[in-house]
Symmetry: D3
C-alpha cells in the first residue's frame, strides 16, 4: 500500500557514515533511503555576544539544501539573498534538539556549529539531519576528549528524530516524499535514547486529527527512534 | 504557586474585541491577560502567483511585534531589514492553523491576509494571535456573506490555541512570561471547536519530557481551548 | 464645505491618552479624529557610536504603520526588507522635532527612542505622531526625574505639529485623508509652546503657491498648535 | 563676516554647463561654488506599474554622492546595500520639485529620470541639484520636441532652489558647508520662475525661529531664486 | 619539493563520477585530490527575460561552498545575505567557459543551469568545477538527445581547466592549497579539447611575472588539460 | 577598418588630469577617448579588522558607474541594493593590480581606498580605471611624503592596463565599445613599467583562440602599456 512497499512501521534503509570530510571535527553522511544529508560539526573557541562570560557553551545549527537536491531545481538561498522561512524553522529545530542533549556548562565557553546540507531530498530531511547531527556532534566531542578539553561528560544521551503520518488512513513511519505530499497528517518527533520527548511537531495538512491518531503516531515514532538510536550506537562504537 | 496565583488549569482573563479598526474587513483586539494583539483580516481579489487558476483561495498570516511590546525594546524588523526566525516560524504557524479550518475551494480565487501585531507581550503571543485571528477571519467571511460573495460555508469550525507547560513540576495552562521563562517544558496546541488537533508543538526547554507529561499537557490544552472557543462564539454572536 | 463639516480653522477631536502600554518609560495613544498613533518612549543607557563620550544624549524616532492602518492593505516593511522613503522621511522629521525641545547635555549620555506606530491612518499621521511623541517623551523624562536621574530641566518647551492646506481654494487646518488627497497645497508645521517654528515643510501638490497663501497657512497652524499645546498640558498635568 | 566674505544676499559663483555627457537626452554640470553636481535626464518609454494606462507621464529623480565628494570619505551606498535616509529625502524632494513644473499629461506615457550625482560637496547639494536638474530636464524636453514627440508645451515654468539660514544672527543666502555646519537655522526654498513656492523646508538646527526670521529668509530666497532663474534662461538660450 | 611530492607537471589523482544524484539531468562528483565538487546540470524550459524570443538558449552557472569545506568554517552565504565577490567571480567564469563550447542556437530556447557545490576544498575548486561541469553538461545534453529534443550537435568540444603557478621558483601544475597559499604567481587556464584557449586568468600574487614565465605556465596547462580531456572522454564513454 | 579609423596598435587619445576634486589626497580624471573615469585616492588611518597589528597597510578599490554613463540608463546599484557581479569583479581586479606595485610594509598600518567612478563609458572602463588609479595613488603617496609620513619608497613601479582583442580577424589595441561588442576575443593586460605582467584576463567571447593569437594580443598590450606608462610619468612629473 505504501508506494515503497514498506510495512507501516518500517524505516527506510538508514546509514550513518562518519568522517566524510577531512577538516571538520565531526562529520556524518546520513541517509534515510534517498534522502542524503551531509552533516559537519565545527568547534570554535568563541561564542555569540549575548552568551559571553556566563561559563556556558552553545550548540547551534544551520541547514541548507543544494539547489538540485529536489525534483525541480530550487533557487539558491545565497543568490536570493535570504534564508526562507522553512530553512529558518528547520535549523532552529535542529539546534534546539541537540542542545537538549548537551550539558552546556560542561562544554565550556565554546560553540559547536552543526551544518546540515541536503545533497538529495526525498522527504524527512529534518529528521535525517537531526539523527546524523547527533553522530557528528558525538564525534566532535570525542575529538575534544582526545585533546583533554573536557573534564566531564558533555553528551547526556542520544538524540534521534523521525517523521510519522497518516497516509491513506493508516499511521505510517518515516514518510518519503511520495507519502508526505499526500499525507493527511504529518508529525515529527525528536526523542532521546531513553524514550523521552525533546520536540513534537504535529501538523494537520488536510484534516485535523484526533488525540487517538496522535497517540498512534507517537507510538510508531517511539519504535522508530529506538531503532535509530541503535544505529547511532553502532556507528560511533 | 503560579506567580499570577492562578489555578493550574486557569486561563488569564481573555477578551476578544471586534471591529477595532475601521478599514479592515475583519479585526479583533485579543487580550490574554497582559498580552495584547491587534489582528486584522484583509480580503484581496488576488492570489500568490503559484496558486492562480486552480479555483482555490488562500489564507496567509503575518506577525509582528511593536518595538516596545516587550520589557526591553526590541529592534524594529523593518529597520533591521528582515524578519527574524521567530517571526517567520510564528506567522507560518498562524497561517497553517487558519487554513485548516477554511474551505479554500469555497473561498474562491481570493486571498485573506491576517495581520497579527503584538501591542504588548506577556507570553503566549502566538496562541493569542491564533485565537483572535479566527475572530477577525470570521468577521471577514461575514463581510463577504453580506455582499453575497460566497455560495457555501467557508469556515468549517472554530480554531483556537493555547500554551501549556511544566512549571516547577506542575503542568499549568496558559503560561505568562514569568512562567514561560522558567518552564522546563513548553507546548502550544492549536485545536478545532470539536476538540481535534491542528497543530502541536512541544519543546523541552530544559529536560526532555515523558509521554505521560505530554498527555497531561494535552488534557489541559483541551480544556483551555474549549473555553476559548466558547468565548469566540460569544464574541461573534 | 469640508467633507467633515469642520470650520476651516477647526481641529479634529484630539485625544492624548497616557500610559497605554505597561513596559515603556513613557507612552501615549494619540488620536486626531480617525488617525490613531501609538507612541512609546524608551530610555536606554547607550548611545549611537558616533556620539559616545561627548557628554550629550540623543533623542531619535522610528515610525511604522500597521499593514491595515490604511484603506487598502500596505505591504509590511519588515517583509519587504526595507523602510520606504516616506517612512524614512517622517521618522527623521519626528526625531529632529523632538530634539529641538530637549537639552541634550542635561539628558546625559543616554538615548531616548520614540516609536510611533500608526494603528489607523486618516491623514496627518506625522503631525499626530509628533504631538503624541512629546507626551510620551515628557512622561519618560518624568520617569527619570522620579528616579533622580536628572539634575536640571531637560525639556525646554512643548512641541506640537499640525498640517494645513488649501482645499478647494480655502486654507484649512488639520487635513484629513479626504482633504489631503485633493488639496492643492499641503504644509506641516512643527512649533514650540511659545509659538516659534521648529520645522516647516510646505509642498505644492498641484499648483505652486504664493507667499500670501503660505502666510495664511502659517497663521492657521499657529492657532492649531496653540490648542494642541493646551491639550498636551492638560494631558501631562 | 561670512567665511567666504560674501555679502549676506550674495550667491556663490554659479555655473550651468550643458551637454556634459554624450548619451543622455539632457545633462548639466551645475556648480554653486565648490559644490559640483552632474545631472543627467533620461527619457524612457516606460512607466512605473502603478501609473500605466492613465495617459500621464512621470518625472522622478535619484541622488547620489561619490564617496570622496566630501571632506572625509563616505561609504558607498551601493556597497552598504541601501540608500541612506538623507539620500531618500533629497531625491524625493528633487522629484516633487520638478514635477510641479511639468505638465504630466502633455508629456504622455513616458518617464524622465533625473540623476543627480554629487562630484564635490560644499553645502547646498540639494538646491544645486534642483537648479541644474531643471536645465537637464529642459534639454531633454527640447530633444523630444526636435523629434516631434510632443504636441504641446510640457514645461510650465522654471524651477530653481536655494538655501538660506541664520548664521551668527544674520540671515544669509546660499550657505556653504562652513556656514551650514554652524547655522542656527537652515531653510531650503524651491520656487518657480514667477516667484511662487513649490517647496519650503525650514529646520531649526539649534534654536526654534520666529515667524519674522522665517520671512526674512524667504525674502532672501526670492532674490536668490530670481538670479538663478536668470542664469537658467541664459544657459538654455 | 612540492609538499605533495608530485612532479612539477603532475596532476593530483582526478576522478569524475557521473550520476551521483537522482533528480538532475546530469551530475558529476569531481575530485582533484582532496578537492571535491558536486556538480549538477538542470534543464529548464525557460530563459532569463533578456534572452526571450531570440531563438537561442543559455547556459549559466552557480557556485557555492559548504561552510566546512574549508580548514576553518566559512560563513554560509545564505545566512550572510549575499554571495561574496569571490563566489560571483568564479560562477561567472564557469558560465562563460561552458558557453564557449555550446552552440546556443542548437540548444533552442532553454536554459541549462550548472550548480557547482564544493564539498571539500584543497585548492583549485574553480578548475575542478569547470572540468566536472563539462561532464554534467554532457550528460544533460545526452538526456535531451535520448528524448529527441535536439536536432543537431550542441556540444562543440570538451572544456577543461587547470591551475598553474610558480612555486619556489619552479612552474608547477595543479596547485593544491599548500602550494597556492605560497605561490608567487597563479594562473588558471580554461581550454578546449583541441588545445585552444577559452579563458586565461593570471595573477601575480606577490611579484609581477615575465612573459617567459607566463609561457611556461601555459605550456604546463596545455599538458594538464589534455590529460583532463582524456579523463572526461573516458568518463562519458 | 576599425570603426574609429585607428591603426590596429593605436590607442585612443588618452588624458590624465590630476587634482580634479579638492578633498581627496590624490585624484585623477582619466580619459581613454570617450571613456571617462573619475578616480580618487583616500588615505585612512585604519585597516580592515583581519589586517590589524601585522605592520602592513592595505590598498583597496571600489568601482561604480553613474546611471547614465551608458547608452541606456543602468539601474543605480545603491537603489537595487547590491553591487552587481561585474562591478565586484572589476573592483577586485583594480585592487589586486595596485597592490602588486605597492610595498605594503613601507605603507605602514594605513589603508588607501581608490574609488573609480565611471562618468561616461565607451569600452575599457577597467583598464582606464587602473591606469588613472595609479596616478591618483601616486599623488596620495606624494601627499604622505610631503607630510613625512613615509620613510622609504612605497610605490615600486608604474601600473597601467589596456585591453586588446581580435576584431574582424585582426588583433587590435584598446577596444572601444563598438569593437568590444563585436570582438571574437577580448583580453585585458595589467603590466608594470618594466614590462612584467600583473594580471592577464583573456576571454573567448565567441570562438576559442589559439596560443599564437594570444601572443599577438600580448605583444600589442606591451606596446600600449609602454605608452600609457610614459603618459603617467608625464602626468606626475
Amino acid at each position: 500500500m505504501r508506494p515503497s512497499r514498506r510495512a507501516p512501521d518500517e524505516l527506510r534503509p538508514v546509514s550513518l557514515e562518519r568522517g566524510v570530510v577531512k577538516y571538520a571535527e565531526g562529520s556524518c553522511m546520513v541517509k534515510f533511503g534517498d534522502t542524503h544529508v551531509l552533516v559537519t560539526a565545527t568547534l570554535e573557541e568563541r561564542l555569540p555576544p549575548w552568551l559571553k562570560g556566563q561559563g556556558r557553551g552553545w550548540v547551534t545549527a544551520e541547514y541548507g539544501m543544494l539547489p538540485r537536491a529536489t525534483l525541480e531545481r530550487t533557487r539558491r538561498e545565497a543568490a536570493s539573498g535570504k534564508q526562507g522561512g522553512r530553512t529558518v524553522e528547520i535549523q532552529r529545530l535542529i539546534g534546539r534538539s541537540l542542545r537538549a542533549a548537551v550539558d552546556l556548562e560542561a562544554l565550556g565557553e565554546r560553540q559547536i556549529t552543526v551544518d546540515c546540507d541536503v545533497i538529495q531530498a526525498d522527504g524527512g530531511t529534518r529528521t535525517a539531519s537531526i539523527t546524523g547531527a547527533w553522530v557528528a556532534l558525538a564525534d566532535c566531542i570525542s575529538w575534544m576528549k582526545n585533546r583533554n578539553m573536557l573534564k566531564t561528560n558533555v553528551l547526556r544521551d542520544n538524540v534521534a528524530a523521525i517523521s510519522c503520518g497518516i497516509y491513506q488512513g493508516t499511521p505510517v513511519l518515516d514518510l518519503d516524499y511520495a507519502e508526505d505530499s499526500e499525507a493527511e497528517t504529518d508529525a515529527n518527533f525528536v526523542m532521546t535514547g531513553d524514550g523521552r520527548i525533546i520536540e513534537v511537531q504535529g501538523t494537520a495538512e488536510k484534516t485535523p486529527f484526533s488525540q487517538d491518531e496522535f497517540l498512534a503516531l507517537m507510538e510508531l515514532a517511539r519504535k522508530g527512534v529506538a531503532r535509530l538510536v541503535d544505529l547511532q550506537k553502532m556507528a560511533v562504537a
